[in-house]
Amino acid sequence: MLLAIDWLFILEKFALILIVVMGSLVIAMYATYAERKVAAILQDRRGPNRAGPFGLLQPVADGLKLFFKEEIIPDFSSKFLFILGPALAMLTAIMTGAIIPWGDKVQLFGRDIPLQIADIDVGVLYVFAVVSLGVYGIMIGSWASNNKYSLMGGMRAASQIISYELAMGITMIALILVTGNLSIKEMVLQQQHGWWNIFYQPFGFLIFLICAFAECNRTPFDLAEAESELVGGYHTEYSSMKLGFYLFAEYINMFVSSVIMSSLYFGGYDLLPFVDESKWGLSANWMALIGIAALMAKVVFFLFFFMWVRWTIPRFRYDQLMNLGWRVLIPLALINMLVTGGVILYLHK
């Protein structure tokens, strides 16, 4: 039985996992660079430009710096949890990549290799599951720091993420009503030659976008690390690579949510709406490349958008944050869901 396993399949998946993980890491690294660069540009500055040409090696330098910094673990804290926190944050950030269709498929060595690690039929739920786990990293880390500011940051993060997950889930239900299934791959395939879901669900997308900001702890929802109130929030006590993990996790989350938004609402690896690219007569590998490029273009746009918003909108106050989540977004999402359901019911009749 052990021998009956398709080893090539395992190998292929391993390679894919490796690529996805490394890719995410690299993209996250460069997202930090991009963040600073975009911030600089938006603020009429120059941004990092010392390490390497245009400062391109800056992330590497940052990484090295973090690696070589002194490890500080506060007294009277649980050492294990203190380390577990950032590890979990990183882990959950990376895990989401598993169900994302990065492209259609490539043909290598005579095998059709789908560019998706696992196509499970509850893909959207999987995303939710992993996202909801992400909060553990922050909570555990913040508690293990044995520091009031950290703890408050952690609590804020937890309540914020739980609150916004609700609205996100409800919008997602509206989307599922439209698409009729929960597999992300299926969703992407449905959008392939026709309408992207954004045209069906513009309003839902807006809510989803806002929630995605909140889920990633990005400004204007970065209450958890509000330096003006909480020093550094949940990572006040962290230094060296553990801090690096937290920061990395944030950028990976950003990347992943960009990918998901692209996949769910913007056709994933579909280049253009209303265009049947397969008629172009290109080979599968080319199509896959174009697809990946298209996806990446969308992702880059979203990443840029994330940064753009960050440097435009000021941070919320905590009560405003909760008000927005509970009193505005959830009702709106509910209305959106009801309207969607009603329209679908009407159309199907």
Binding site: L42, Q43, D44, R45, R46, N49, W308, V309, T312
Partner: protein
Amino acid sequence: MQALTNRLKQVERKPMSLLERMYLPAIFKGMIITFGHMFKKRPTINYPEKTRPFSPVFRGLHILNRDEEGRENCTACGLCAVACPAEAITMEAAERKESETHLYREEKYAAKYEINMLRCIFCGLCEEACPKDAIYLSETFAPADYQRKQFIYKKEDLLIPNPITDPEGYKKAAGNRVQLNANK
């Protein structure tokens, strides 16, 4: 109360309309503004490579001047210390020996001359007070340091390079202003 200036602007505190409360237009406006900044000319320069010129009245780090022969101008009269509002300057005078005439211009000289750069406010009063053109505020910054005591600049730190042995260094340290003052 009568406004002292007419710059006071009356703010209207009326409740926001629905459109305003939705914030989205405002956010959109803000986004446009930030986006617009991408295409603006950047006011920053690549500093170490490029520098901006100092203002002609810039007051930088102190230097103790020498005359053309490389002798110290300072005669330890103490006027600078008296003039210093931050009381940053201390000195000890000594009498010039015969053998030291090539070192000190006057018969009395400062054996010890210290400026506490942590106290100095770079007002330039010492420069004003000096009758011997001995002390000048140059165009350089006080460099950063790790220890407080390093900020107490000794005479050796303040003295300008000797124009005879090191004319290049003298010129650089003196800058425009010392020259100007020296020619006075």
